[in-house]
């Protein structure tokens, strides 16, 4: 099993969610987040004072899938979130040791 974490532009959330559902992914968790990568932030002016806003609003989407679904999910996210401009976001993939369904103590991939 792998966990896919993708950090996205908030405006791309709906498109990514739809693409994942279409690809057959059934569950996901969405977090509102703030952060920046290499694009850094932007500057704002209030009464002549310059403020640097370096933490920008982002959306983080988390899902755990089995090995076969990994590439399909990653492609779905890329397909829906890419604009080609700086700030499109990142995807991280990591290994998951165990998944447990709280309702009936089911373990492993069947719990996904």
């Amino acid at each position: 099993m792998v966990k896919i974490e993708a950090i996205l532009q908030p405006s791309k959330l709906d498109a990514v969610k739809d693409a994942l559902l279409e690809a057959g992914i059934e569950g996901m968790t969405i977090l509102e987040a703030r952060g920046h990568g290499r694009q850094k932030g932007h500057t704002e002016f209030y009464r002549g004072r310059e403020y640097t806003v370096d933490l920008l609003p982002k959306v983080k989407i988390e899902l755990v899938v089995n090995e076969e679904m990994k590439e399909k999910a990653v492609q779905a996210i890329i397909g829906a979130a890419r604009t080609g401009r700086i700030g499109d976001g990142k995807i991280f993939v990591s290994r998951i040791e165990e998944a447990i369904r709280i309702r009936n103590d089911e373990r492993g991939e069947t719990a996904l």
């Binding site: 704002e44 002016f45 009464r47 002549g48 004072r49 640097t52």
Partner: protein
């Protein structure tokens, strides 16, 4: 004066043919005709009184609209979100505190018969302030209307100061300091400029200075006291290294627009009647605000590369401040000029002077009200004309361009006295409050925000 002459002419005009008739008829009907004339006279007076009173009551309400919600929203939006309720409460507290003070002693000290510097105690607890006009001030409206209209000015003036010490003063200290301030700084200044026998009164004062709606009384006193207070109190923790952007420009925007609308009551209401002078002040007020909004916006566009919303609304307020003393004395194009200059000048005060002198006037109460008020008071001496308001008599020049250059000195004296009284009065009161109950919140309370630390509540609870 002018209105009284008109009234007299009208009665004469109506009366003369009637009188001519009575001479030819029997002598016995004369008393009846005289009674008719008297009734007519009374009806004319009542009609004028009704018109004037309607406008003045609306104006009083408009001036209160400037404090709450106008100023409360304008200032509230400019602070960080942990301080919004604390900031709005400071304006609202003035609506409560100053009202009671005004009834007990404030009105009497400002408008009672006293000496050249302060009024007397004859109207303490509103004694003698009834529904008949006080001919010293406004002969056509009930004195209670005049009293409550002036009260609204007394409320907004200390509320303006709160912008300078935003986000760091204890609520208790603020309440005591501003209550004392309204008694010891506001009432003497109001008496000197507007009170009978006041030192700076335009009609009859030793130094006749022109202040139509409160450039010195309201804006210089509040702006200069704001500067003194923010220097005495020190900077906010983290200023200027930390980002402290306004948390809601939307609230500030609504607040500034309400200020603009309310200002029509402030300036046009200062004609104290529904007269042509009120129209003049109304037009000037609007023109100056518009010109200043443009002035600040363009200055900022050139200076920083972008025309900001905050710049546009700050400019409008600066123009409204600057036209306040001039509104009932100048012509519309003078008002446009005063507004333009105020927009550019106040933006310069805020962009350059504040950061160079390193004081933390959090919401620019001095940069807008102190600087704009001073500029406006001086420019009034330049542009005042007897065509709009023959303040010194029908054939006497008022301002410099009208032929009376000495008026500039009178205006400067008014400005100087307002600055002096504000600096000394504010310093003394701050010292007293600081040594007794302490002015500033603790560093922990400051970082938690005034909402939680002073009031035990939050402006925005999005989880409930």
């Amino acid at each position: 004066m002018c209105r009284r002459t008109k009234l007299l002419l009208l009665t004469l005009f109506l009366g003369t043919p009637v009188l001519a008739l009575t001479q030819t008829t029997a002598a016995s009907s004369a008393p009846a005709t005289q009674a008719q004339i008297a009734a007519l006279q009374q009806a004319v007076q009542q009609a004028q009184s009704a018109g004037d009173n309607a406008w003045m009551l609306v104006s009083a309400a408009l001036v209160l609209l400037m404090t709450g919600p106008g100023l409360a929203l304008f200032y509230g939006g400019l602070v960080r979100k942990k301080n919004i309720l604390g900031t709005m409460m400071q304006s609202f507290a003035m609506m409560g505190l100053v009202t009671i003070i005004w009834a007990i002693v404030g009105y009497s000290l400002a408008f009672g018969h006293g000496n050249a510097f302060i009024g007397g105690f004859e109207h303490v607890f509103l004694r003698g302030v009834g529904l008949t006009p006080n001919t010293d001030y406004a002969a056509t409206i009930p004195e209670q209307t005049y009293m409550v209209y002036q009260l609204m000015f007394a409320i907004i003036t200390p509320a303006l100061i709160t912008g300078a010490f935003a986000e760091r003063m204890k609520f208790s200290a603020m309440a005591v300091f501003l209550s004392l301030w309204s008694i010891f700084v506001y009432t003497p200044m109001a008496h000197m400029v507007w009170g009978v026998g006041g030192l700076l009164n335009a009609t009859g004062g030793h130094i006749p200075s022109l202040d139509f709606a409160g450039g010195t009384v309201v804006h210089i006193t509040s702006g200069v006291s704001a500067l003194v207070t923010c220097i005495y109190l020190g900077k906010r923790i983290g200023y200027p290294q930390q980002n402290m952007p306004p948390h809601s420009m939307v609230l500030s925007f609504i607040g500034a627009c309400l200020l603009w609308v309310g200002w029509f009551g402030f300036n046009a209401g200062s004609a104290l009647g529904a007269s042509s002078l009120a129209t003049s002040a109304f037009v000037n007020t609007h023109f100056a605000a518009a010109a200043a909004a443009l002035g600040w916006t363009v200055a900022e566009w050139i200076h920083n590369g972008k025309p900001t919303a905050l710049g546009a609304i700050s400019g409008a307020v600066a123009g409204l401040v600057a036209i306040t003393p001039a509104s009932g004395f100048v012509q519309p194009f003078s008002a446009i000029f005063i507004g333009l200059v105020a927009g550019v000048f106040c933006s310069f005060m805020v962009f350059e002077v504040k950061s160079r002198l390193h004081y933390d006037d959090s919401l620019d109460a001095f940069g807008v009200h102190g600087a704009g008020g001073t500029l406006g008071a001086l420019l009034t001496g330049l542009f005042a004309t007897r065509i709009i308001n023959a303040a010194f008599g029908k054939d006497v020049a008022t301002g410099a361009f009208d032929g009376h250059w000495g008026q500039l000195l009178n205006q400067a004296a008014g400005v100087g006295i307002a600055w002096g009284l504000s600096i000394v009065g504010t310093l003394v009161l701050l010292f007293i409050v600081d040594k007794t109950i302490g002015l500033r919140v603790s560093p922990e309370e400051e970082s938690a925000g005034l909402d939680l630390s002073q009031h035990g509540e939050e402006g925005y609870d999005l989880n409930s």
